[in-house]
Amino acid sequence: MIRTEEMLLNVGPQHPSTHGVFRLVLKLDGEMIIEATPVIGYLHRGTEKLAENLQFTQIIPYTDRMDYLAAMTNNYVLCHAVETMMNIEIPERAEYLRVITMELGRIASHLVWWGTYLLDLGATSPFLYAFREREMIINLLNEISGGRLTFNYMRVGGVKWDAPEGWIEKVKEFVPYMREQLKGYDQLVTGNEIFLNRVKGIGVYTKEEALNYSLSGANLRCTGVKWDLRKDEPYSIYDRFEFDSITAETGDAWARYQVRLQEIEESLKILEQAADQIPAQGDMIGKVPKIIKPPQGEAFVRIESPRGEIGCFIASDGKKEPYRLKFRRPSFYNLQILPKLLVGQNMANLIAILGAIDIVLGEVDG
């Protein structure tokens, strides 16, 4: 006679696989997960409350600290919201610099995901390769912004300052190098049978479920929904570049892996075109009043971050501080589907499923 009983297991809040402070309360039957309850909020810093007492330029550094793996897109979404309200035109060169830095950030973010996801699954060396390449991007972004992760580079109406001399050339040189490395990644991991067995058929959801759970980004595209805000609701100057929005059909962790890895290639395409098209000179900031006061009213904008749709809502009463600021944080929305994916799964698959969602806890908690 084997006696079984339910067991309650806390995963986290300090656990390497959660990549931040995130707790999962699991009800286990043997190795099977019966119920999973995510507990979040450990990293809640009250950004939205703080912002109500800050001017818009002062809020930009706070956005760096939400999705700290792709801070450029966070910078952009706030500036974009204010610019939309105030109808500010952004100078050409500044717009290109924004796109280049955002796409570099996207590649860096996907590289971190790729490296750490494989590390979670037990493969050590991909992590080292991914961080080698990421370090080059970080150095580039450090050169242009003065910060490695928290850039604070964008401003309402443009960017803080121009790229240093020779920077665009460095970006141009990086593109073919990264392409070469991507091939190496594919040879190293993508065809690996052990890896495929770990990720295929794991964490599956359908297109309808993905939409119902408000998933976005690679988490949505892995179910076959061809939806990329850069292409479908073009903002900035993304309509000038040729690139694909990558989709996969199976909706499992393996599909998400494919989408993210191929998105690096698409970002490289954008980088290549942007580095060629960028005007040699130009203003860094458009016609922006000294004190930024969006008109009375409200606006909601959304853009494509590496993790999905990042949105920014501003309600303004005509003052220099926002009356209400709200970020639609993709990790927060994407994480909601986790309990549903975990039920009935083997405990060992927990890491593979959680990792494939690609969350950043700073963004989940706001």
């Binding site: 009250g46 759970y213 909601f300 709200k326 706001g366």
Partner: protein, 357 residues
């Protein structure tokens, strides 16, 4: 041969050698003497003569030049008529004397000036100097103070002018605002011609309203407009009692089909609470902003989490930070702050409460 002979021979040889050496020496000396005497007496003399002649010539030429110059400068300066080095020296001396005299004069002038300023400083005792300095400093201070007074008065005037200008500007702005608020529709109609171009999303909004009204009649909506600040998104404001019905209709109606909830959050507008949802239809590629105003004192509204699972956590967040309660929510809890938190931070009248402070 004998040893003696040998020695003698050696001696003789040595003597001979010595003699030869002496002879050579003498010869050399004689030769050098000859050379020396030759160089001192013979040609060198000529060379020296030549050189001397050349030098003399050069001197003569130089003198001639000098004379010419002097001749030229005679007109300017009759004192330099007597040429020759002596005269030059005299001139130099005279110039030096003049310079000295000038310097002295300057000194005297300075002293005289300082005497004028402060007679006490004529006796150059340190004490006096210190006194003089002190006096000078005092004077400078007084002057600075006077200047400051003058400029201060100027600033005050400027400030006054500024204040007046600001007041005028404020009054003008207020007048404008009054015009606008008082004029109401009239003012709007006046400003409208500037952006008379209807929003490209106007037909879409009209379509939504038409569909809604054909199903529910005209009692469903509180307001509907195009939000021009927010990329022209069609915005529909529901009534609290129709909010859920409308949301359900938005999701399941075939023509609308908003299958994706992009965003849900609440805002405290002090007079009321407001829920803002941004819906998107992947089928029609269209957006709509659905809003609902709720009572601030008793903020209760139907949950739309049963319609879109994605609204689950955002509603928890609105409950946690604003205290809005969602009826029919599967698991409404304080998602960020925890159940023991006192108050709702995003409310405008929130007072932080901490038992440990």
């Amino acid at each position: 041969m004998d040893q003696k002979d040998v020695e003698q021979l050696k001696k003789e040889a040595a003597a001979k050698a010595k003699a030869a050496a002496l002879a050579k020496k003498k010869a050399k000396e004689a030769a050098s003497k000859e050379e020396d005497s030759a160089s001192t007496e013979a040609e060198p003399l000529d060379i020296a003569k030549q050189k001397a002649a050349a030098a003399a010539k050069a001197k003569a030429a130089a003198l001639a030049k000098k004379k010419a110059k002097e001749a030229a400068s005679k007109e300017e300066n009759p004192a330099s008529t007597e040429a020759e080095p002596l005269d030059i020296a005299k001139q130099k001396a005279a110039a030096a004397a003049k310079a000295k005299a000038a310097a002295l004069a300057k000194k005297e002038a300075k002293e005289a000036a300082s005497k004028e300023e402060d007679p006490a400083s004529t006796k150059t005792d340190p004490l006096d100097i210190a006194k003089a300095k002190a006096a000078a400093a005092a004077k400078a201070k007084a002057a600075a103070a006077a200047k400051a007074k003058q400029s201060g008065a100027g600033d005050l005037e400027k400030e006054k002018a500024k204040a007046i200008a600001a007041a005028k500007a404020k009054a003008a702005a207020a007048a404008k605002a009054k015009m606008k608020s008082g004029g109401g529709a009239k003012a709007e109609s006046q400003t409208e011609p500037e952006d008379i171009k209807p929003s490209p999303n106007q037909p879409i909004l009209e379509k939504y309203i038409k569909i809604i009204e054909s199903h529910f009649g005209s009692e469903m909506l509180e307001a509907s407009y195009i939000n021009r600040l927010s990329k022209d998104v069609p915005t529909i404001v529901a009534k609290p009692e129709t909010y859920y019905k409308l949301a359900e209709f938005f999701k399941y109606n075939e023509q609308l089909g908003f299958d994706f909830l992009s965003e849900l959050h609440g805002t405290d507008f002090q007079t009321h609470m407001e829920i803002y949802t941004h819906l998107y239809s992947y089928k029609n590629k269209q957006s709509v902003a659905l809003k609902v105003k709720i009572d601030r004192e008793d903020p209760v509204i139907d949950s739309i989490a049963p319609l879109w699972a994605g609204a689950n956590w955002p509603e928890c967040e609105a409950y946690d930070l604003l205290g809005i309660r969602f009826k029919g929510h599967p698991n409404l809890h304080r998602i960020m702050l925890g159940e023991d938190w006192v108050g709702y931070p995003l409310r405008k009248d929130y007072e932080p409460y901490d038992v440990e402070v």
